[in-house]
């Protein structure tokens, strides 16, 4: 069965999506990642979508689900490398990926994961910012 590889680097899991994903493949990635977080105790997940030429509502929802599931499992997710045309289209479609942290590229995404960890207060601030 076709799968998107998940690489482990220290406490982080790295995924690069390089194929035009059909829906089942996206679901498999969601399941695999959740299992890997639980198995490895990863504290961060970085998903590189720079090769993705479109993100439709299904893929967008899958990314949001992955981020939410990872959070419940005590891991942060950062989606990096979205192409500008994809960003424009996604917002016009009506999805701004709430709850998904993003960064422009892999480097700044890794930086974001490394700095966000340990600052317990960050999560607290996020929770209270809506008040």
């Amino acid at each position: 069965m076709e799968r998107i590889p998940i690489l482990r680097m220290g406490n982080y899991l790295l995924v690069t999506i390089q194929v035009d994903m059909h829906d089942r493949l996206a679901m498999t990635l969601q399941d695999d990642l959740t299992q890997q977080i639980s198995k490895t105790g990863a504290i961060g997940v970085l998903i590189d979508i720079s090769s993705l030429e479109i993100v439709d509502s299904f893929i967008g929802r899958t990314l949001a689900n992955i981020a939410a599931m990872a959070r419940v499992l005590d891991a942060e997710t950062v989606v990096v490398g979205m192409q500008p045309a994809v960003a424009i289209t996604l917002v016009e479609l009506g999805m701004s990926l709430p709850g998904v942290r993003t960064a422009l590229n892999v480097e700044s995404g890794m930086e974001l994961l490394q700095t966000s960890r340990g600052s317990f207060a960050r999560g607290m601030q996020d929770d209270s910012s809506g008040n």
């Binding site: 035009d20 030429e53 439709d56 509502s57 967008g60 045309a85 424009i88 016009e92 009506g94």
Partner: protein, 134 residues
């Protein structure tokens, strides 16, 4: 000036959605759409192909290059054999869904194209036609 032939693709599985996306991209590139326009059209195609598969129990997508004077465009017609839509106004609303989705398929894809037409009768399936002009 030759008119590109109309092509019809089946939509019966998740991989057919990918095939519709790829064919749409190929023609959008041929028509020299900008990258943003290509992306919008391909994304709309993906949404509507998924609708046809999930709500319409499968169907087809007819793709053609159309001309209006000197203007060229890409037109996609999605037909399904599903239960149809009883309340189109409601179905076109952001966030309204009968499946497990986000309810952005119809309303969202309408925003991504220039022309959007939908015809549906309960029990007789749904036809959605979208056009994006260059």
């Amino acid at each position: 000036m030759t008119q590109a032939a109309t092509e019809t693709l089946p939509i019966t599985s998740a991989s057919d959605i990918v095939a519709v996306r790829q064919k749409t991209r190929e023609l959008a590139i041929q028509l020299k759409f900008t990258l943003v326009d290509q992306t919008k059209m391909v994304t709309a195609a993906s949404e509507l192909a998924r609708n046809a598969l999930e709500h319409g129990k499968g169907g087809s997508c007819q793709i053609e290059v159309v001309k209006n004077g000197v203007r060229e465009g890409l037109r996609l017609m999605f037909q399904d054999h599903g239960p149809g839509i009883a309340d189109l106004d409601l179905a076109m609303r952001d966030g309204y869904t009968t499946g497990g989705g986000l309810g952005l398929g119809l309303s969202g894809s309408k925003r991504l194209v220039n022309d959007f037409e939908i015809h549906s009768m309960p029990g007789q399936g749904t036809t959605v036609t979208i056009t994006r002009w260059k």
